[in-house]
């Protein structure tokens, strides 16, 4: 570790040059050109539901035990539908072409998404707007590369749904501004006022906009199935405004808190299954 720190001290400029300060100005300008200042008025109270999934696993010799949980939470803290979850034991392999390789992360994330889909579908119609944490596009392309399972049919199906939004706090996509860094980076720096970037339509037919709901709050990335225009984004902003804190929808914060599976909870789960005697991954690594 110490050698990397030493290197970073000596080569600070070099490392930071990846940000390409020379292109910075021009991209910020491009970002400004697509930005629409808009101060949303909180609309009448709407029924929003936030969906998030979480997963965790403990490695054993030859298998993992894992848990996946997806929840749909209303602004009053209650579940709108029964949570979808799975607890199991396996190798967590993922197929890539003809090959299988073990990737608990990818495997569990996929499961998490399947359950999120399940939750989202059961919520549609019972809420004014269903907010799912994350980016469907990121997942879609990620899975496409790995040609993973049944995922995309599901994704496709949801992408076409109305009353559904994907919201992410972090995004690394540069599809809109084509900068060295993600679009989020530039939109967060070009202004501090509420507003949004005019929607960029992905080739899968999903519209993407970066949105700042309140002054000085960070941008969030919104994905809406289908081709939408500025007035739709404005409507969505008004919908979210009244129930957001620091520019982020409260129902998603709640969904995250409710679904979260901690390492301690995994340990209790293992304990419950009588697996505590097995060597855990940490012991294997000698930690």
């Amino acid at each position: 570790m110490i050698e990397t720190l030493e290197y970073a001290v000596d080569n600070r400029e070099l490392i930071l040059s990846a940000i390409k300060p020379e292109e910075h100005e021009s991209i910020i300008k491009r970002a400004k050109d697509t930005w629409v200042e808009f101060e949303p008025e909180a609309s009448e109270e709407r029924r929003l539901v936030g969906i998030d999934s979480s997963w965790n696993s403990i490695p054993y010799q030859g298998f993992y035990i894992y848990a996946v949980d997806a929840v749909a939470v209303l602004g009053n803290g209650k579940y709108l539908v029964k949570p979808s979850f799975e607890v199991g034991l396996g190798t967590l392999a993922v197929r890539s072409g003809e090959d299988y390789f073990s990737s608990p992360e990818l495997a569990l994330e996929s499961k998490g998404m399947e359950y999120e889909f399940e939750q989202a579908k059961s919520c549609l119609g019972s809420a004014d707007c269903v907010l799912v944490d994350g980016s469907i596009l990121a997942r879609y392309y990620d899975r496409k590369q790995h040609k993973e399972g049944s995922f995309y049919d599901r994704a496709k199906e949801l992408m076409a749904q109305e009353g559904l939004l994907y919201v992410s706090k972090k995004s690394y996509s540069n599809a809109a501004l084509h900068g060295t860094l993600g679009d989020m980076f530039y939109y967060n720096r070009m202004s501090f006022d509420p507003g949004f970037s005019s929607p960029h339509i992905d080739r899968t037919g999903v519209s993407v906009s970066y949105v700042r709901l309140a002054r000085d709050s960070p941008c969030i990335r919104i994905e809406v199935p289908g081709r939408v225009g500025s007035s739709d984004i404005q409507r969505i902003m008004s919908l979210l405004k009244g129930s957001s804190v620091d520019g982020y929808p409260y129902v998603l914060r709640l969904a995250h808190e409710s679904g979260k599976i901690s390492h301690d909870e995994m340990l209790s789960l293992a304990n419950l299954l009588g697996l505590e005697a097995e060597l855990g991954g940490r012991q294997v690594l000698g930690e």
């Binding site: 602004g75 009053n76 803290g77 209650k78 309140a214 002054r215 000085d216 009244g242 129930s243 957001s244 804190v245 620091d246 409260y250 914060r253 709640l254 808190e257």
Partner: protein
């Protein structure tokens, strides 16, 4: 024996036989009593510390976000959490029978917690036997009366501590009332003269007076305000204060003459003797209400089976110190005689006596040697054997001698804000927990935590107000000024009208 009262909360976290925490359905007040199921039957507990939290607002760091967070969080039933920390005071069945039985097993996490109903616990706090006297109601269940064991006060002492204006003197007045009702004997050293208006049956009011004939020369020097370090003057007094002087018909005259003689005989002392004569003359003139050679012995000024209020308003602190120590020493000697079976006529107090010292930080200070401190420590240590007890009252507990404080068997602790005061009390008594100490600043006037031997279990109480005690309330300067202004207005008017007449 299930309760039909509403569920208040559920036990969470690690539990101990004497302590647990629970999450409640509403905010819980410090001082509330709760019951919880345990393997050994229902337990009674006292909420010593409580906290309310919002998960969302916990993470907020600026005003704008706080406004937004407040709006969304109020709709979320899970956002708020009410946590209370409870001290187990005993099994409910045991307490109802007057027995403190602490459980050996902790309540299990997940156990249900209920509000303690007034009917369930009144028998715990309000005892019928003669030695128990009611002093107030539970702060959070006012209909539950709380009584204290006066026998324990009379044998193991009591400390009443709070910030100034917290309600100490009111509680002391209440104690005098209760002792009077029981036909007991009490002496209150009333340094501020604030009990002079206390009109209760069996109270006798007297101005404290010291007969100089019965004190030693150092005490006399203190009474006359001879400076501590005026050694030559004090030596002259020692030599001049002979037995002849003490028994002389005209005490002061004889003392002055004796001092003059010492001055004449010893060259080096001449100046000091002259100075001392001046001091004596001042004392004769200005302190005749305090130092009186014609008053009877100390014990003659006090009455058995009465509450003796000794007014010391005229005393300086040094005089009061000398006087209190003198009274205490005489009373202790009397009680020793009584316990050793001396003949009736030589004993004033045949039954136990309680002595109350206000401003204890001045007379029983942790630093320095005061006359009273020496004798009070003795009483604190040995009084139990002789049926003599102290009630120590102070608004600066940290300045009260730790040895004396740690001998106090019982405590009434009222509002206290200074952490040093709290730490000092903590050292003196293990009866009070850290959680309770933390919450003392939130008590209001007249609210007290009663701990120690005079109560079966810790009680958080609103003390009864003693209407018979008239002085001691805060003075309203503004209204008195207004009244005075009106009076002088009237005076001016009447001069004017009389001028017109002339």
């Amino acid at each position: 024996m299930a309760s039909n009262r509403g569920l208040l909360g559920v036990v969470v976290g690690e539990t101990k036989p004497h302590r647990f925490r629970f999450l409640a359905s509403r905010a819980v007040s410090m001082g509330e009593y709760v019951t919880v199921e345990s393997p050994e039957g229902r337990l009674l507990g006292l909420a010593e510390d409580t906290a309310t939290r919002s998960v969302l607002l916990d993470k907020i760091s600026n005003f704008e976000s706080a406004i937004e967070a407040k709006r969304v969080a109020t709709k979320n039933v899970r956002d708020k959490s009410y946590l209370a920390s409870v001290k187990v005071v005993g099994t409910l069945d045991g307490l109802r029978g007057g027995q403190v039985t602490l459980p050996s097993l902790p309540p299990e996490p997940g156990s249900e917690v209920f509000e303690a109903g007034s009917d369930e616990i009144s028998g715990v706090f309000d005892r019928m036997e003669r030695r128990w006297a009611q002093v107030g109601g539970l702060l959070r269940n006012p209909e539950v009366r709380v009584s204290v064991d006066i026998d324990k006060v009379a044998s193991r002492h009591l400390a009443i501590l709070s910030v100034t204006g917290g309600g100490k003197s009111n509680l002391l007045a209440l104690m005098t009332k209760k002792v009077a009702e029981l036909g007991g004997t009490m002496v209150v050293f009333d340094y501020h003269g604030e009990y002079s208006g206390l009109s209760i049956p069996r109270a006798v009011h007297a101005d404290a007076k010291i007969n100089p004939r019965y004190v030693n020369s150092d005490q006399l020097a203190d009474l006359m305000e001879v400076r501590e370090n005026a050694e030559v003057q004090r030596t002259v007094l020692l030599k001049a204060f002979t037995d002849d002087v003490k028994t002389a018909k005209e005490f002061w005259k004889s003392l002055l003459a004796s001092i003059a003689t010492v001055g004449e005989n010893e060259k080096d002392s001449r100046k000091a003797a002259t100075r001392l004569q001046d001091i004596v003359k001042v004392a004769m003139r200005r302190m005749k209400t305090v130092i009186d050679p014609d008053v009877g012995e100390v014990l003659d000024q006090l009455k058995a089976s009465k509450v003796n209020i000794l007014n010391m308003l005229e005393f300086t602190e040094r005089q009061a110190n000398a006087a209190i120590s003198y009274y205490l020493a005489e009373i202790l000697e009397d009680r020793k005689r009584a316990m050793h079976g001396a003949e009736e006529q030589r004993v004033r107090f045949t039954a136990p006596i309680i002595c109350a010292i206000e401003e204890a930080h001045a007379f029983i200070p942790s630093e320095g040697d005061a006359d009273t401190k020496y004798i009070a420590s003795k009483v604190a240590r040995e009084g139990r054997k002789f049926g003599m007890a102290l009630v120590v009252v102070s608004q600066r507990p940290r300045r009260v001698d730790q040895d004396v404080l740690s001998q106090m068997g019982s405590f009434a602790i009222m509002k206290l804000t200074n952490p040093e005061d709290q730490a000092h009390i903590r050292e003196a008594s293990e009866a009070i927990s850290e959680d309770l100490l933390q919450n003392l600043p939130s008590l209001n006037v007249g609210e007290a935590v009663l701990l120690g031997e005079w109560v079966n279990i810790p009680a958080v109480v609103k003390i009864d107000h003693v209407a018979e005690k008239k002085t001691g309330a805060d003075i309203s300067a503004t209204s008195l000024w207004a009244a005075e202004g009106k009076m002088s207005q009237v005076a001016v008017e009447s001069t004017k009208s009389s001028m017109v007449l002339e």
